[in-house]
């Protein structure tokens, strides 16, 4: 089954690229408006060869990891606290529900004014994009913990610290994990937008810069790169989740 999954993935990409090439051949669009797979591959190889693609990827990943990582840490800590304090959450929740649907990009004028240009705007936008899914997932997960576990914890006289580390976090983790996946997706989406605001490097900047030069080969090469890295990040997160769950089984201790 695992082998056939890879086979399907391979076939899926082959089909998509084939279709793309077919549209190019049948449609006979000017190369400058709609580049074909070969042109994009050529461009991509050129970007790899001169090293500039890796510089952009490196910068983007740096911003992403800082923004996403800090958002996850803050959101989980806040989520556990707010999940344990339902009255406080009831007070905060309505405001969160109003802020949450606003695109992080909408804040960009303030972000540039407050944080300047460079790495910060992208980091702040990624932070906003990742923060709310993780916060809401954590609060909901902590609220939904089976009271049975809390009863067991009180019976064995667990301290507050142990209660959080040994009961609440492990019990809430599967649900927090789905929040982490949602957040990694939306944060990576907003990376590109974030780097269009006041950045001079990164994959988002690469696209804006190439657009300004009407270099659509580069635009598509960057798009493909962004997609592949996004997929890889989601898989990395999955590996990370498995590692954490393994620690909690107590098998290693």
């Amino acid at each position: 089954m695992k082998g056939s999954k890879w086979l399907y993935a391979l076939a899926s990409f082959a089909l998509a690229i084939g279709l793309w090439q077919l549209v190019i051949i049948v449609g006979d669009y000017p190369e400058a408006l709609f580049p074909g797979p070969l042109a994009v591959l050529e461009k991509w190889c050129a970007l790899v060869a001169d090293g500039s693609l890796f510089v952009h990827i490196g910068v983007s990943l740096y911003r992403f990891i800082i923004g996403y990582g800090s958002a996850v840490i803050v959101a989980i800590i806040a989520g556990v606290l707010l999940g344990r304090l339902p009255r406080v959450w009831a007070l905060i929740d309505p405001v969160v529900q109003v802020i949450r649907p606003v695109s992080p990009i909408a804040w960009s004028p303030f972000i540039v004014l407050w944080f300047g240009i460079g790495d910060m705007p992208a980091i702040v936008i990624i932070f906003i994009a990742a923060f709310f899914p993780v916060l809401l997932a954590t609060v909901a997960a902590v609220n939904r913990i089976d009271p049975l576990y809390l009863k067991v914890a009180s019976n064995f006289e667990l301290s507050q610290k142990d209660l959080i580390w040994k009961i609440i976090l492990p019990a809430a983790f599967p649900a927090i994990g789905s929040g982490l996946h949602m957040a990694i997706g939306s944060a990576w989406i907003f990376l590109v937008a974030g780097e269009m605001v006041g950045a001079q490097s990164g994959l988002g900047y690469l696209i804006v810069d190439a657009r300004n030069a009407l270099d659509l080969d580069t635009v598509l090469a960057a798009i493909v790169t962004i997609g592949v890295i996004g997929l890889a990040l989601d898989h990395l997160l999955r590996i990370f989740e498995h590692a954490i769950k393994k620690v909690w089984t107590g098998k290693t201790i």
Binding site: L148, Y149, K151, V152, S154, N155, F156, E157, L158, S159, D162, K166, I167, P170, A171, F173, K245, W248, T249, G250, K251, I253
Partner: protein
């Protein structure tokens, strides 16, 4: 010991939203090493009584003494076994048993020894690395028993611990409980609605009546251990208890009608 391990004194419990008390004027003493079964129909407050003895709920009036100290919160002295086991699904069997010892002053070797002893006592030492969801319900309850035994509590509280299990597993675990009680002289309090289970396990059966929950009758079971469920004596107690419950079906006596 000059005082009983548990002393319940004029206990009264009423939930704020209810018009009638759940429990009214409950007094009893339980000696060290005794197995006491609380028997009654649902709604008679037997689980509430057990929860209060365990410190999970506070009484409205009256008090509970455990080792001559008032019970105010749950403690490791009295471990509750639950109908749905209360194992932590993200931990292995071994780690679930170890859980009860993690903030104890014992050394690592002593803890390991306690965990293995507990698992051996319930016959699960070879499943130490399994996850709880890989085990049957009976096995999971045995892990919970091992976890309770590992910290050597004075009292084990059981809230219909075997209700979700099939008959054969239930008989097997009942024998296990008797064996543990004999080996460790551990006090065991059991809430059940299974008359046979109460007669098989208990030194004393406390029958509770509902509305409001109160002690209706206490019956001491004077049968030697290794009781035979099919024996004449066993049937005698069955009939005795059966009659008590028949009685409670009759129109309530005047004193309860006020």
């Amino acid at each position: 010991m000059t005082y009983p391990v548990i002393h319940v004194d004029a206990l009264h419990k009423q939930f704020p939203t209810a018009t009638k008390p759940v429990l009214s004027n409950i007094s009893l003493s339980i000696e060290h090493g005794e197995i006491v079964a609380f028997l009654g129909k649902s709604g008679c407050g037997k689980t509430t009584l057990l929860n209060m003895i365990g410190g999970f709920e506070a009484p409205t009036a009256g008090r509970i003494l455990l080792d001559n100290e008032i019970v105010t919160k749950p403690s490791k002295k009295s471990i509750m076994l639950l109908q749905n086991y209360g194992l932590l699904p993200w931990r292995t069997v071994y780690s679930n048993v170890l859980f009860s010892l993690e903030n104890s002053p014992l050394s690592k070797e002593q803890r390991h020894e306690r965990v293995i002893n507990g698992l051996t006592l319930v016959g699960l030492e070879d499943r130490a690395n399994a996850m709880p969801n890989e085990l049957s319900g009976g096995m999971q309850q045995r892990v919970a028993i091992a976890r309770a035994l590992a910290i050597e509590p004075e009292i084990i509280l059981m809230d219909e611990p075997f209700a979700a299990l099939d008959t054969f597993t239930r008989y097997f675990l009942q024998d296990e409980i008797v064996r543990i009680n004999t080996q460790k002289r551990m006090t065991i309090l059991l809430v059940t609605h299974d008359i046979d289970e109460a007669i098989y396990l208990a030194d004393r059966i406390v029958i509770l009546a509902p509305n409001p929950g109160r002690i209706y009758k206490e019956i001491t079971i004077q049968l030697p251990r290794q009781r035979d469920r099919a024996s004449q004596d066993f049937q005698h107690y069955r009939e005795l208890i059966f009659k008590e419950f028949q009685l409670s079906h009759e129109p309530p006596a005047i004193e309860y009608n006020i």
